[in-house]
């Protein structure tokens, strides 16, 4: 019945108005808050486009038809196709859309490949950036702002988002902390790839480098009481060396700390809470017992907080220096004696 009235409405006003003021023309229906359609399966889809959504977006100078190019008459008889952003967003465009490498990066990403292969669930531009209310990503209110991004990804990645929201990173992010990572800080944005891909920033062998972007930066982690040395001590450990030399089974940061569910070590639910260490190590080392928690995991022999390890390391340092000095003196004296012996002869 509604469609009938739409058609009648359009017939009454004619096409002349469309050409004169196309935006207003669309507004006749789409600016009404109750404008919606009911799908055959009884799902209600709102077709309401708040009048200020486009006006507040980066596309405030664009008109409906610039994106909805397949709408050539109003009222339109068919559902408009999904908008293809690459109509404007390509390198060399003439309409002033930003020219960046991200368009090509997206095509190579796990999302882009799936979308191009015909997976209708794979996100396209507007699924993350928003449709009518596209804003500069770091602007307040953008679906991609630091505060909102994780929630945006979580619309599809529901369980991962639930874990992340409870993690130390997620909780601090919720409080508005600008230093903690959100999804894209570890996974990348348009370059996002499956963790199985060797070039992914979250591929097992690349995880230490990815975490080190913050966790080796004293300016970022020191104020939270986290040591920036943890990455170095890992790289010096058997796990770190094996990972560096291509082992696919050696533990990396997230093997022990978790990925989305990371909790601080003093949280009883943390994988590295002392009582949980036998279980965490036990994932790879079934023989792990309570002894595995007795001592530090990230040991730096050059730091005093390594305890007895520090003093033993120092003992060997001085023993080696003194021994070598003694040997050097011995050699010099021996040569001196031989030279003098020669002169006498």
């Amino acid at each position: 019945m509604r469609r009938f009235w739409l058609l009648a409405f359009a017939a009454a006003f004619g096409t002349a108005i469309v050409q004169a003021a196309p935006v207003q023309k669309c507004d006749l229906c789409h600016a009404k808050p109750g404008f919606k359609k009911v799908l055959p399966d009884k799902h209600v889809v709102s077709l309401y486009v708040p009048p200020d959504s486009l006006a507040n977006s980066v596309h405030r100078r664009r008109e409906c038809g610039d994106c909805h190019r397949d709408v050539t008459e109003i009222p339109h008889k068919q559902n408009p196709q999904r908008v293809d952003c690459t109509t404007c967003h390509y390198i060399g465009n003439l309409v002033g859309a930003p020219e960046t490498a991200i368009y090509e990066q997206y095509r190579e990403s796990v999302h882009g490949r799936a979308a191009l292969a015909g997976n209708t669930k794979a996100p396209r531009c507007q699924d993350c950036h928003g449709a009518h209310d596209v804003r500069v990503p770091n602007a307040e209110g953008s679906s991609l702002s630091k505060k909102n991004l994780a929630h945006s990804c979580g619309r599809c990645h529901v369980t991962v988002y639930a874990k992340f929201a409870m993690s130390v990173h997620g909780k601090l992010l919720e409080q508005g902390n600008p230093n903690v990572p959100t999804c894209t800080d570890c996974h990348g944005e348009h370059t996002i790839e499956s963790p199985e891909e060797p070039s992914s920033s979250v591929f097992a062998a690349n995880i230490p480098n990815t975490c080190s972007r913050c966790h080796a930066a004293e300016a970022i982690v020191a104020k939270y009481g986290v040591s920036p040395e943890q990455v170095n001590t890992y790289k010096e450990s058997f796990h770190g060396i094996a990972t560096t030399f291509g082992s696919k089974t050696a533990a990396n940061c997230s093997s022990c700390h978790g990925a989305h569910e990371i909790l601080p070590p003093n949280d009883p639910d943390s994988w590295i809470y002392p009582a949980n260490i036998p279980k965490t190590c036990g994932k790879c080392h079934p023989e792990a017992n309570a002894n595995w928690a007795k001592g530090k995991i990230h040991v730096d022999a050059s730091k005093k907080d390594a305890g007895i390890i520090y003093y033993v390391a120092n003992f060997f340092k001085w023993l080696t220096l003194l021994t070598l000095t003694g040997l050097a003196i011995n050699i010099v004296l021996d040569l001196y004696r031989r030279v003098r012996g020669h002169r006498k002869a």
Binding site: G246, A288, N289, N291, W292, K294, K296, T323, R337
Partner: protein, 227 residues
Amino acid sequence: MPQWIQRFTLSQRIQHILLFLSLLVLALTGLSLMFHDTALGQFMIRLEGGLEARGRIHRWSAVVLIAVAIYHHFSILFAVRGQKLVRDFMLQRADLKKVIQSLKYISGKREQHPDWGKFSLFQKLQYFGVILGVATMIFTGLILWIGPAAIGLVPKWLVDMTLLVHGREGLLIFLILLFWHLYNVHLAPGNFPMNMSWITGRITADECRELYPGEYRRLLETGEIKE
């Protein structure tokens, strides 16, 4: 024809060769792991066939070293020549006095070498140094060999310390061999390119009289050599 004095038995020479070959391989494979973050270390690890092959070579060399160590202990406990060897190596109070004589000789206040017995104090210290060092390395190495299983038996920090001691002690032994032993038997004037007695097991009577006068006199008295 110079007179030759047999200084080392064939068994001792073979022990020495196996000892230094295994130590050399252990040092190269061990240090390449210790310096894995340097270009040279990475080159060495590639040369050794990768990280895992490096570990296998290291452990097989350790087996050779352990076998030599066990054989040597049997020989000094039960073999007549082995028992004599240990007696010659034993530290004596007189050695202290001879250190002062040695210093005087070096500074020119004394014409002659101090009268060491068969072995000089430095050689004695080297012998016990090798025993102490090898024993430490074998003990800590075996703990690391069983690896994670060791953490189940003792607290983790003790295994961390074992790893630390194994690495630092190994480096120390390597440096001592490099700077002292290499100098004494290879580079020191008169010895270059090397003192051959490690292969032949013998030195000339003249060398013996010069370097080990006490031993020389003893051999004269027992009639093993003639003037």
